[in-house]
Every structure is written in structure tokens, then in C-alpha cells.
């Protein structure tokens, strides 16, 4: 075990995968010379050269589309979009092309492309640089959707993403980049579709994604002191969804709270609740709950931003309410 910054764990995964497979390459804005806007690819240009670590023009639709073409013809591109909000600039290539080409070709083609991109609010980046786009991409079939929590998870899941033969949207949380985590010396790929029970409990199940896993852990520790035992599931991947783990947990605890930072409406909480509904309905002791970003654009001012995004306090309050 050793200490590492989340962003360096990402960089290690990229480095190790590029070293392992010379078809793996990266393209994106500012990923090369300065090693990425969030410093997740420092040193890789020097190590792998300009063709494999390609600084691109500001052309999101173009670079994602090129990624699709590269993936169709034998490469394993990792495309970086500087903020997940920019998925909207490239949405056609992500959703109408990358996600559907295999299907439209009747299985002839595969698109082994990863799009890495940061989500999350908390840096006063305002409405166009703070969104969490996991619900939007999960809505559309054909994309795997990964929401790692810690540095260890990010590294292991990114390796899996790069080795996966499907288009994968890999969401990094921008508030974690400069946080320190403990990490194994060697991190193996972490399989998709296997949620991780990071804390066992008996009263209520929290299903959380990305940074919300850490926030939920903090909340659970405090709740424990008040005698509430919370089980926490780190979902890891939204698509594929590990319903079995969630259902088993909820059958045990009788309560389900989903914590995810995407906007609430048509969000991850709604989906998970609906997905497990039939199986857990008769075990539920309270309505299924969700914590999400409310249905307003992300405000710039910290005086407005922090109060509205998911937080430890909000999780605690919601859990208590569900326990009433």
C-alpha cells in the first residue's frame, strides 16, 4: 500500500495500459504537452510520443468521431473530454455513433473506445463546467458507464475500461483529483457490473456513485453513533448494473437510498429505484429515497453551489427521515 493522488492513479492506469498494449492511445485537448487540464497524463507524451498522446484542437465532435473511426480500425483510443459538460458538444458521436454502431452493423463492428471526462460541482465552475452527465449517457443503450469512487477504484476500473471492447464513458470526479488515497502497489482490473459493498449495515442501504461513496461513508460513521446501521454499496458501474447485489442488500435492510450527483429528474436514483422495485417492493419499510443535484443549473457562487449539491449533512438528514 502507498499513498497516491487520485489524478496520479488515473495517470498510472493510462501509463500501464499504454505500456501493455501499443494499440492504446490518447487524444484530447491539452493532454500532451501539459499533461492534461487536471494533470492526469503528465509525462505520457514524453514517454509515448505525439502520435499516441495527441493534443487536439478544440473540436469535441471531431475527436470523439475520430475515436470511433480509430476504434473501428484497430486502435483502442482513450478520448479525454476536459469537462463532462462537453459531452453535449459531441453528443451525436457519443450516442448516435459510438453507442449504436455495433448494433447497426449486426455485430460486425466493435468500438473499443474510452471517453474519460470529469463530473461534479464544488469548484465554482458554474453551469457549463459542473454537471454530472452519467444519467444522460446511461439513458442511451450501447455505452458502459463507469463512476469510480477512490483512487484504487479509478485505477482498476480504468484498466478494465481500456480493455473492454465496447465504448465506455469513464467519469472522474473533479473534486477528487488532488485528494490522497491509499492504493495497492499493484492494481488489477476491476470487473464491470460487480458492485462493491464497502460497508455492511442492517438498517438502510445506500447505493452511491463516485464521490458520493466517500460522502456516504462519512455520513454512515456519524449515523452509527446515533445507532443507525447503514450498508453502503459502491455501484462502480451504472451500466452494467449489478441489481443482484442491490436487491439482496435492500431485502436485508428494508430501505434504499440512492446518492448520485447527476440532476434528480430522470436521474440515477429514479432508475435504480424503478429497476429493483419489483424485487424489493414487499420488503420495503419506507419509500425508496434519492439524493441528487436538484433540478436547477449549477450556480457559480459558492454561497449557492455548496448548499444545493449532495453533502454528508444531506445524506444524514435523509437517512434519519427514512428511519422515522
Amino acid at each position: 500500500m502507498r499513498e497516491i493522488l487520485y489524478r496520479d492513479a488515473i495517470c498510472e492506469a493510462l501509463d500501464e495500459e499504454m505500456a501493455r498494449d501499443d494499440k492504446v492511445m490518447m487524444i484530447g485537448e491539452d493532454i500532451g504537452f501539459i499533461g492534461g487540464n487536471f494533470k492526469t497524463s503528465v509525462g505520457l507524451l514524453e514517454k509515448y510520443g505525439d502520435l499516441r498522446v495527441k493534443d487536439s484542437p478544440i473540436s469535441e465532435a471531431g475527436i470523439v468521431g475520430m475515436g470511433v473511426g480509430m476504434a473501428l480500425t484497430g486502435l483502442r483510443p482513450v478520448v479525454e473530454l476536459m469537462f463532462s459538460d462537453f459531452l453535449l458538444v459531441a453528443a451525436d458521436q457519443v450516442i448516435n455513433q459510438a453507442a449504436k454502431i455495433r448494433y447497426m452493423s449486426g455485430g460486425q463492428a466493435k468500438v473499443p473506445m474510452v471517453i474519460r471526462t470529469p463530473i461534479g460541482a464544488g469548484r465554482s465552475s458554474a453551469a457549463q463546467h459542473s454537471q454530472s452527465m452519467q444519467a444522460m449517457v446511461a439513458h442511451f443503450p450501447g455505452l458502459k458507464v463507469v463512476v469510480p469512487s477512490t483512487a484504487q477504484e479509478a485505477k482498476g476500473l480504468l484498466k478494465t475500461a481500456i480493455r473492454d471492447d465496447n465504448p465506455v464513458i469513464f467519469f472522474e470526479h473533479k473534486m477528487e483529483y488532488t485528494n490522497k488515497f491509499m492504493i495497492d502497489d499493484v492494481v488489477e482490473p476491476i470487473p464491470f457490473g460487480k458492485a462493491n459493498i464497502v460497508r455492511e449495515g442492517t438498517d438502510l442501504t445506500i447505493v452511491a456513485t463516485s464521490s458520493q461513496v466517500m460522502k456516504s461513508m462519512d455520513a454512515a460513521k456519524k449515523l452509527e453513533k446515533e445507532g443507525i446501521s447503514v450498508e453502503i454499496i459502491d455501484l462502480r458501474t451504472i451500466v452494467p448494473f449489478d441489481r443482484e447485489t442491490v436487491v439482496e442488500s435492500v431485502k436485508k435492510t428494508g430501505r434504499l437510498l440512492v446518492v448520485d450527483e447527476a440532476h434528480e429528474r430522470c436521474g440515477i436514483g429514479a432508475e435504480i429505484g424503478a429497476d429493483v422495485m419489483d424485487d424489493v417492493f414487499y420488503y420495503l419499510d419506507a419509500p425508496i429515497g434519492r439524493i441528487a443535484t436538484p433540478n436547477v443549473p449549477l450556480p457559480f457562487s459558492p454561497a449557492l453551489e455548496f448548499p444545493i449539491i449532495p453533502s454528508v449533512d444531506k445524506i444524514i438528514a435523509k437517512v434519519k427521515k427514512m428511519m422515522e
Binding site: 475515436g67 473511426g69 480509430m70 473501428l72 447497426m104 452493423s105 449486426g106
Partner: protein
Amino acid sequence: MEKVYDKKQLLSFYETMYRMRRFEEEVFEFYKKGLMPGLAHLYLGQEAVATGVCAALREDDYIGSTHRGHGHLIARGAQIDRMMAEILGKADGYSMGKGGSMHIMALDLGILGANGIVGGEIPIATGAAYTAKYLGTDQVAVSFFGESASNEGTFHESINMAAAWDLPIVYVVENNLYGISVDIRDVTKVSDISDRAIGYGIPGVIVDGMDVIAVHQAAEEAVKRARSGNGPTLLECKTYRWQGHHVGDPAEYRERRDPNEKSTWMERCPIRSFREKLRKENITEKEIVKIEEAVEKEVQEAVVFAQESPYPDVSEAYTDVFVD
């Protein structure tokens, strides 16, 4: 620079164009008889373009195609029986009926797929060119699209990158004057799309798209340029479509500027005029008829094949979303 063509090559141009023509006529019949699900965009009138361009390619090169893709696919040697089956939504189609006319793909022939999104395929083909450069294979990619697609942002973003990085690609604009009903002259100030090449620092070339030899020569030059590492060319082929935008479009909008527009263009039929040229080159009527008869037989067999092919089993709707 008059290039000398041998008889075999000339006859092969003719055969390809004739195959496209007869194929599309039969597709149209399917529609008229109510046998075709959805719609199709016929290549009738534009045969010289795909024929000339694809004849300049090597077997391992790539093409990206459009909603009006049948001609491109045939020029690359796609099996017309499987194309026909796809267009009818049958199990023996290239995509098992999942894609249909707008999404036929034949990856083993380097065909990266027709595409239902105007401009959607341009960055994808550009990505294939990137792969060729990355792997050092000296393969070339061709991206076909219409003049109206040149007003999509993806056109701009893709060509900029290909130019900046000297990617081995040829952008072929088939300027048939219309995007559905919209006359390019009403929505674009320049009359030659090739003028846009200047803004990317690459050659822009105009060629008579009704003359297969002229197209072939221009394409050979552009392909040579690409293959030798000198980057892309924007090759504009002036052409015209005989029919409406799709099989169900009466296309009355084309008479608004000039009531004789269509007939003037049809007088320049690329197939009839090339046939006359062949006769002048001392190719006998018999030699030509022999080809026509062989193609006819092939097309009729394709029609039967497609009609007799079963529909896919409904379980197929759920496969090929992901590589397992």
C-alpha cells in the same frame, strides 16, 4: 496528363456503374411495390463518382459512407444480395436487418458504414486515416458526403485535423446541388465547396462527377498524395441525382430555378455517355451487352435472395448491443 486505360479497366468501370444503376432501380421497385420497410436514398445519376473514386483505392483502404450509400458500397465490392436483404430488413442482410439502407456496413471490405447522420461519418473516416498513419500501413481513407453535409460542423473539424496532421484521407464531396429540398445556393454563398480547402491549407479540386474517367484520375492523384504522406485533398464532384431525395420524394422543388434542370443533367447520364465512349474506343456492342446481361442476372438473383431471406428472429433485437 491523359492516362491510358486498358479495356479491362474500362469495362470494369462500366460494369460497376451499371450494377449500381440496376441495383437502385430494383430497390426503387421494391419501394413502389410496398415491399420495402422505411425508405432508401438512391444513387441513380451519381454512379461515376463512387466508381471512379473507389477504383483508385487499394483493397485494404477504407471508405466512410452516407445515407446515400448504396453506390459507395457497390463500388467497394459489397455483395449486392446481402445489401438487398439488408434493405428489406432480412436476416441475411449485412446487419441482419438491424441497420437497413442507411446503416449498411461491410467492415471486411473497409466499409466503415453508411450513416444516417449527415456529416456523422466524416470524423469517423478521419479516425480510420489516423489509424493508418499510427500503424504506418500506408492505407488511405475516403470520406464521401454531399455538398449539404459540408455545412455540418463535423466537416470543418475533421478536415482541419486531417490537414494539420497530414492524415491519409480524401474528402469526396458529391455536389448534387440539393440537401433534400434545400438548394445549396440558398444556404451557402460559395458555389464550389472545394473553395473551403483553402481555409485548411489543402488542395481543393473540382471534377466533372458525370465522367468516370475524370473522377478516377482526380481520385488517383488525391489518393497518391494521401498515401505518400502529403495529407488530404478536398475533391468536389459535380453531379446530380436522378430521383428525389429518397424513394418517396417527388422532388418538385428542383424546377424552381430552371424547369429544365433535371433534363439537362440527365442528358449527361454518366452511364450512357460512358457506353458511347466505350463504343468509340473500339469496344464492341457484344462485349458491353455481355456485361449488362451478367449484371442483370446477378441483380435478379439478389432480388430473389433478398425476398426469400427470412426475417430475423425477434430475439435478435436484443443482441449486439455490447460485445460480451
